[in-house]
């Protein structure tokens, strides 16, 4: 057990903190308009990469620092604490990159990894389809081998950053005869290839973070297969576990920063004749949100310990994901309670508390129990893979 940081971690924290204090862009520097924001954030990632602060735990030969998981977490936490903007290449960094590190050929590693770190290549993840969400193995996008190439046809949806991505990690069916899980391959597709059409999807928050992607006879060189032919399912599962294993530890810092500003706003909101912060019920709600965020951290630290011991994330990451969804949604609900009558109003010029910001937080939080595998899918994983309950009908 070791909660305190060791010397190396402390030194790293100081380095990162000093760097961020001097370099984090101010909120007003970041463009509101989504396309301009993405370009701005790409520059931010490049700057961080040049400072050696992206992909710390990646192997040194591919541009990382070969740092420990805990050192990577130190950096993630400092970024969140400093209110640093997210890394726009996060699909590549957290999801696709680790799969290439784990399953790629030497050529693939050399071709893709460094460009992921620098933000030069933004990746998107072509997994979900209209008919294959929670039941991902039901996916129908096909890749047929022809003349040393894959020809991809199909339709992907909920594809974050697709309109800004250079590459897409596509799960496609390469053997229609095999059982569902054994006929899927993981193929790296250049988004500039003819035959790809992208239609942005506006989400409930009003942002168009994701898109639908249509593939019409898209030709992909055979060497863009990651891992074995028809071996894509295992890689995808590794990818998703990795995403879940990581996410909670970083996200809890973001939620902590949000809660701090909610407490601040609670002092500026009237509720039934006094400020919200003086209301004992509101204090309880804030305390419960605070407890949740702390426990998300504790659970994350425990999973990290298990990940370090096992060398990879396990099914336990589904526990983290379920805790995260609960905690994030509870925090968002607390915000509505704090704002009371104002929670549904629009922003008013000159007012200290901006309800629209909390509406965005609330709406976005609904996704926490859906993305990366819905809460129901996570419960199935916990029940079957951890508790050993028999598989049954869904």
């Amino acid at each position: 057990m070791r909660l305190a940081l060791d010397r190396d971690e402390l030194a790293l924290r100081e380095e990162v903190r000093a760097y961020l204090e001097a370099n984090v862009p101010r909120a007003e520097e970041i463009p509101d308009e989504f396309d301009a924001r993405v370009e701005f954030l790409r520059g931010w990632q490049r700057q961080l990469h040049e400072a050696g602060l992206v992909g710390l735990s990646w192997p040194q030969e591919f541009g990382g620092r070969g740092a420990s998981l805990t050192e990577q977490i130190v950096v993630n936490q400092e970024m969140a604490r400093a209110g640093a903007p997210i890394l726009v290449g996060n699909v590549g960094l957290d999801v696709v990159g680790p799969s290439i590190v784990g399953h790629g050929t030497e050529e693939q590693k050399r071709a893709y990894l460094d460009r992921i770190l620098s933000g030069e290549d933004i990746w998107c993840q072509g997994f979900s389809e209209v008919g294959a969400g929670s039941d991902l193995a039901a996916l129908r996008t096909k890749a047929v081998q022809r003349d040393g190439r894959f020809v991809v046809n199909g339709h992907k949806v909920w594809t974050s950053y697709a309109q800004h991505a250079q590459w897409c990690a596509v799960l496609a069916r390469t053997d229609a005869e095999a059982p569902a899980h054994r006929g899927i391959s993981y193929i790296l597709v250049d988004m500039a290839t003819p035959g790809i059409e992208i239609r942005p999807l506006v989400q409930v928050t009003g942002d168009a973070e994701f898109s639908e992607v249509y593939f019409d006879d898209v030709e992909v060189p055979a060497e863009n297969l990651l891992g074995e032919l028809n071996g894509g399912w295992a890689i995808a599962m590794h990818t998703l576990a990795h995403e879940r294993g990581w996410y909670g530890v970083g996200r809890q810092v973001v939620l902590r920063v949000l809660l701090d500003s909610l407490i601040e706003d609670a002092a500026g909101c009237e509720r039934e004749g006094s400020t919200a912060i003086e209301d004992p019920e509101i204090q309880l709600e804030l305390a419960r949100a605070h407890i949740g965020i702390e426990v998300l951290k504790h659970q994350g630290f425990r999973s990290v310990g298990q990940m370090i011991a096992a060398g990879h994330p396990g099914f336990e990451s589904s526990v983290d994901k379920l805790v995260l969804a609960n905690v994030e949604q509870r925090m968002a609900a607390a915000a509505l309670d704090v704002l009371g009558s104002r929670a549904a109003l629009g922003r008013r010029e000159g007012e200290r508390v901006d309800p629209s910001g909390w509406q965005h937080v609330y709406l976005y939080a609904r996704a926490a129990s859906v993305y990366g595998g819905s809460a129901q899918v996570q419960r199935n994983i916990v029940a079957e893979r951890i508790l050993g309950l028999p598989r049954g009908s869904r």
Binding site: L3, I263, A287, G292
Partner: protein, 370 residues
């Protein structure tokens, strides 16, 4: 920044698992429910195993080790005074250790029960009516205490009381004159609770904790008690969940094991999330205390509040899986349910700790704004 148990701690947990399964099968807890319980043998065995002293000295186990043992006590709904004794030992360290009883309690050699609750005072330690009054060079203690665990078999009581308007504690030998104990069974029968009637019990100065140093010592000792009790709650709910999972694999309805139905899978999965996250909060808080981390106070509050609610949710889910059978007196699940409910309340229930945190958050904000 990682929550993993050391080899020694893992070994301790596994030894404790075997020992408790052997020494305190659920049938022992049940015997109390039938009014026939006797905790003396187990109490002596735990003493021989050295459990009362775990985490006191620099033994490599720490408060975390204590929590691992408490977790196992909870899993067997065992009649035990492990946590009370650990708290008493820590408080005794602030007393005069030249006093023979104090020295032995501080060394973790004396099974001890905390006497805190009164008709009008609770685990917050506010407003105790039990009074420690000066008499010459010494004190006398009078009052009534409720819900004192294992009151008939422990050798000492550590009693919360008021001294000149301040929180205080007094250490009594169980057989002292004026210290009258009456069996008063409670929801968790295996806690073997008694009511104490204290009538001008003599307390030498060496056994009284009051004044300026007392508050800090009490807070620190109660922090340990809260976290270890949270561990006991997690152990009890976790054991009930294990039973329910095993049952869900065997019990068939509609021609299939009920554990293959998603409705039950999701119920059990949520309960598993509850127990794992509660355990994480306990391990974190225990490690924070052991490492003298500045977050220890807050972490203990978080752990007690969270584990109390999560353990109840998990044990209730487990009972639901059993359906009607766990609603019978003869089924063992309610022994564990009773332990969860009792542990939830000891050292402050979830509401008490949530309120405390809420006031802290509000005060911190006002402090920052000032």
């Amino acid at each position: 920044m990682r929550l993993t148990l050391s080899e020694d701690q893992l070994e301790l947990h596994s030894v404790a698992r075997e020992a408790m399964a052997d020494l305190a099968p659920l049938s022992l807890a049940r015997s109390f429910l039938e009014g026939e319980g006797d905790a003396a043998a187990l109490q002596a065995e735990l003493g021989d195993l050295g459990w009362y002293g775990v985490g006191l000295e620099d033994d490599g186990f720490g408060v975390l080790g204590l929590c691992l043992l408490a977790e196992r006590c909870g899993a067997q709904a065992a009649p035990n005074c492990l946590v009370d004794t650990a708290v008493a030992a820590r408080l005794a360290c602030s007393l005069d250790r030249d006093d023979e009883l104090v020295g032995r309690v501080a060394a973790g050699e004396v099974p001890t029960a905390l006497a805190v609750i009164e008709p009008e005072a609770d685990w917050s330690l506010e407003g105790a009516a039990a009074r420690l009054s000066a008499r010459g060079e010494a004190f006398t203690l009078s009052g009534t205490k409720l819900g004192v665990q294992l009151g008939a078999s422990v050798e000492a009581f550590l009693v919360s009381c008021d001294h000149d308007g301040e929180r205080a504690f007094a250490l009594l030998a169980a057989d002292q004159a004026g210290c009258i104990s009456r069996s008063a069974p409670s929801l968790d029968a295996a806690a073997a609770t008694v009511e104490l009637e204290l009538e001008s019990v003599a307390v030498p100065q060496s056994r009284a904790l009051s004044g300026r140093n007392a508050t800090e010592a009490i807070d620190r000792a109660f922090r340990v008690g809260a976290v270890a009790t949270a561990a006991e709650a997690v152990g009890a709910s976790s054991a009930a969940l294990d039973l329910a999972v095993a049952y869900a694999k065997e019990r068939e309805q509609f021609g299939a094991p009920i554990g293959s139905f998603q409705a039950l899978k999701h119920l059990l999965a949520d309960a598993h999330v509850d127990r794992e996250s509660a355990l994480a909060s306990v391990l974190f808080a225990a490690a924070a205390i052991d490492e003298q981390n500045p977050s220890a106070e807050e972490a203990a509050t978080v752990a007690k509040a969270y584990a109390s609610r999560a353990s109840r949710a998990a044990v209730e889910a487990a009972l639901q899986v059993f359906g009607g059978i766990a609603f019978t007196w003869e089924h063992d699940a309610h022994l564990l349910q009773r332990r969860v409910l009792a542990a939830e309340r000891r050292f402050g229930d979830a509401i008490q700790h949530e309120r405390h945190l809420g006031r802290m958050l509000a005060a911190r904000r006002q402090g920052a704004a000032a």
